[in-house]
């Protein structure tokens, strides 16, 4: 009995960890190019609300996810324009994007007497594998019981890890994030790279938002993300800007988000408000440990040029 509760809550940790992972992985790509986008929460809500709307309008779920990604990327384009072309303070631009995306989602959700809040997706995210495989002990619920988005996110983690650390293109991105002036001299376009990777980040957040609304909750409510975008931001730091670590960390953060309920069933009462703090608390602790040890700092720290605008004239 207790085992099955634990198993179920671990399985749902994977589910709730998935939007965190998608948005976090996107932000990780953005940050490797030297752009910090604090606007994840806004892009997640803004992209998600349009993706969710598509899912209520007879659109197939992959199409809804794609539309969510595109809208998220368009929100990110605003940040790219402000941060890369106009070189404004990225903190300010990111926070302005949070307000804009949140306002956009709330406004769209309130149109036509809040029609969207009462709408439901026409189809569901179904498990990929058959019942026989899902009933296998342990691996059934944990590994084989999920819908395609979860498996896609695993593929994306692998692709991101390979792309960033094993390909020439990935090396170019990291060069732009670490030392844009040098990257510029060898012929890499700093501006274009940063635009593209900022938009990839927005796409990740938009997909995460769509999955959250159309997949996990099957509904849109104001403030439905409940700070998930901020957790995704913490994830990037906690994972030390490494995709595979982000995969593990996303599920740890996901578990913390709904562990309270299952712990209550087995008789341990830790309030959800306390558990919700853990991702942020753990990130602060990790950050302090890393910054206190130079050897660790070299391996796990942020790209050197993160949030520093690049201008050829003033380099």
């Amino acid at each position: 009995m207790n085992e099955s509760v634990l198993l179920l809550s671990l399985a749902s940790a994977v589910v709730i960890g998935t939007p965190i992972l998608l948005a976090g992985l996107g932000e990780m790509m953005t940050e490797h190019s030297g752009v910090m986008n604090l606007g994840i929460e806004g892009m997640l809500l803004g992209g998600g609300v349009v993706g969710f709307w598509m899912s209520t309008q007879q659109a197939s779920l992959p199409l809804a996810m794609a539309v969510g990604a595109v809208v998220g990327a368009l929100f990110a384009l605003i940040h790219a324009y402000l941060a890369v072309t106009l070189r404004v303070n990225q903190i300010v631009s990111g926070l302005a994007l949070v307000v804009t995306g949140t306002g956009f989602a709330s406004f769209v959700g309130s149109l036509n007497d809040s029609a969207l809040i009462y709408s439901r997706p026409v189809s569901k995210f179904e498990p990929v594998f058959g019942e026989a495989m899902r009933d296998l002990p342990l691996v059934g619920p944990l590994v084989l019981g999920h819908d395609w988005v979860v498996y896609m996110s695993w593929v994306l983690v692998a692709v991101a890890a390979f792309w960033l650390f094993r390909t020439r293109a990935g090396l170019a991105v990291r060069a732009v994030g670490e030392d844009p002036a040098t990257a510029d001299t060898v012929g890499i376009s700093v501006g274009l790279t940063r635009y593209v990777y900022t938009m990839i980040g927005g796409a990740g957040a938009g997909m995460g938002g769509t999955y959250l609304m159309a997949g996990i909750f099957s509904t849109y409510q104001h403030g439905i993300s409940a700070g998930l975008g901020w957790i995704a931001f913490a994830l990037v730091i906690f994972a030390g800007w490494r995709p595979w670590r982000a995969l593990v960390a996303a599920y740890v953060f996901g578990a913390l988000r709904n562990l309270g309920f299952s712990l209550q069933i087995v008789g341990v009462d830790i309030p959800p408000d306390v558990l919700n703090v853990f991702p942020f608390f753990l990130t602060i602790v990790a950050l302090m440990i890393i910054s206190a040890r130079p050897a660790a700092a070299r391996r796990f720290s942020a790209p050197s040029a993160l949030s520093v605008p690049y201008s050829r004239e003033t380099r």
């Binding site: 806004g42 402000l82 106009l86 903190i91 307000v99 306002g103 406004f107 309130s110 990130t283 206190a292």
Partner: protein, 373 residues
């Protein structure tokens, strides 16, 4: 950067100081652009933008009720805006005003409940507000100490601490039977109210003296940054940490003091919100993002303490007008969207302050060009 258009050529060059005209025109144009974009969105969704904007001006500014309501909402924004101004002037990025504001509210409501009516109004109010400022400063120190001595990135640590503070506040009201929670209300948790004598005196209608305190601190911060040794060192450290270090300034202590002053301002704002508006620890009313908005407000004010006031009032007028729009059948959520678009447009408009565009006439075909005049 050059761009050729027919016989003319656009040249973009950076300029150190913008003229008075540009400093006025750039934000004016940005605001106008934001309202045009907003109008297009309203039109596209079948709403009447003229109706919406007149109502926003009417409910935001016209009449005693409108203006006092706007000023009440602007007060906490002035505090979080000032908090950001102080830190950002030294290029210390405190984005934790949200959490410092919340902890200020927690501390001052706690002290208010603790003193009850034992010490009388004025003394009790001072105790509450001091507790709020102190809590904000100490909470900021949690990020300031690692920043000063371990070089831990304060952007991330202050940001993360916001959510720790939010968790603490929610726990005190929603998940425990703490000292802050009203024990009589078990099903729908609310915070216990402080004694009436501890509420801030009111001036006009519901407008409390918190606004005067905010204005006073605006002057103090302006004066401190401009005329004190501390302010001078803040500016120098902000412009060039190396120069500050080599001239013998203790940069680590400066970081600590600036972050704690910034935190104290945000915490004081939280205390004033409890004493002036709420009367208790109300998580729903205290987690609306005033800390984050304050940062944008400070940026739009170009980190000028006095600039914070009009920007805060403009933003507050939006929120104040929201319920009125809803009555007219326009989704009140448009004000948040409009606020965001306004922020983005003004931030973008700042570009014109740092760069000049010159139009040059080319004399002949390409290759034979001569500078105009």
């Amino acid at each position: 950067m050059n761009l050729s258009l027919g016989s003319r050529r656009l040249t973009v060059e950076s300029r150190p100081v913008a003229s008075r005209t540009v400093r006025f025109l750039a934000p004016t144009f940005s605001v106008a652009l934001a309202f045009v974009i907003g109008a297009l969105i309203l039109l596209a969704t079948g709403q009447d933008p003229v109706l919406a904007y007149t109502e926003m001006i009417r409910k935001g500014f016209l009449g005693r009720l409108a203006i006092t309501g706007t000023l009440i909402i602007a007060t906490p924004l002035i505090f979080t805006g000032l908090a950001a101004v102080v830190a950002f002037r030294m290029k210390v990025w405190n984005i934790g005003a949200e959490g410092q504001f919340i902890l200020g509210a927690v501390a001052s409501s706690g002290v208010g409940l603790w003193v009850g009516d034992q010490v009388g109004g004025p003394a009790g109010i001072v105790l509450m507000l001091v507790a709020g400022a102190l809590a904000g400063a100490l909470f900021a120190a949690l990020a300031a100490l690692p920043r000063a001595y371990l070089n831990t990135d304060e952007v991330i640590s202050t940001l993360m601490l916001n959510f720790v503070a939010l968790g603490i506040m929610n726990y005190l009201i929603f998940s425990s039977f703490s000292f802050w929670r009203d024990p009589g209300r078990a099903t729908f948790p609310v915070g216990k109210f402080v004694e009436d004598v501890l509420l801030l005196p009111r001036m006009v209608g519901r407008l409390h003296v918190g606004l005067i305190i905010a204005l006073a601190f605006t002057v103090i911060i302006w004066w401190a940054l401009r005329y004190t040794k501390w302010g001078f060192e803040v500016m120098v450290t902000g412009d060039s940490p190396r120069a500050a270090l080599y001239s013998g300034m203790r940069v680590d202590r400066k970081i600590l003091s600036v972050l704690m002053v910034s935190g104290a301002l945000a915490g004081l704002g939280g205390g004033i919100e409890v004493g002036g508006v709420l009367g208790n620890l109300d998580p729903r009313a205290l987690s609306l993002g005033v800390g984050f908005t304050g940062i944008v407000v400070a940026a739009l004010a170009r980190l000028s303490p006095f600039g914070v006031i009009p920007v805060a009032i403009l933003v507050a007028s939006f929120s104040n007008a929201a319920p009125g729009l809803q009555v007219l059948g326009i989704p009140s959520e448009i004000v948040i969207l409009l606020e965001g678009i306004l922020f983005l447009c003004i931030v973008a408009g700042e570009w014109f302050l740092r760069n000049a565009i010159r139009v040059e006439r080319m004399a002949g075909p390409a290759g034979a060009e001569a500078p105009a005049s």
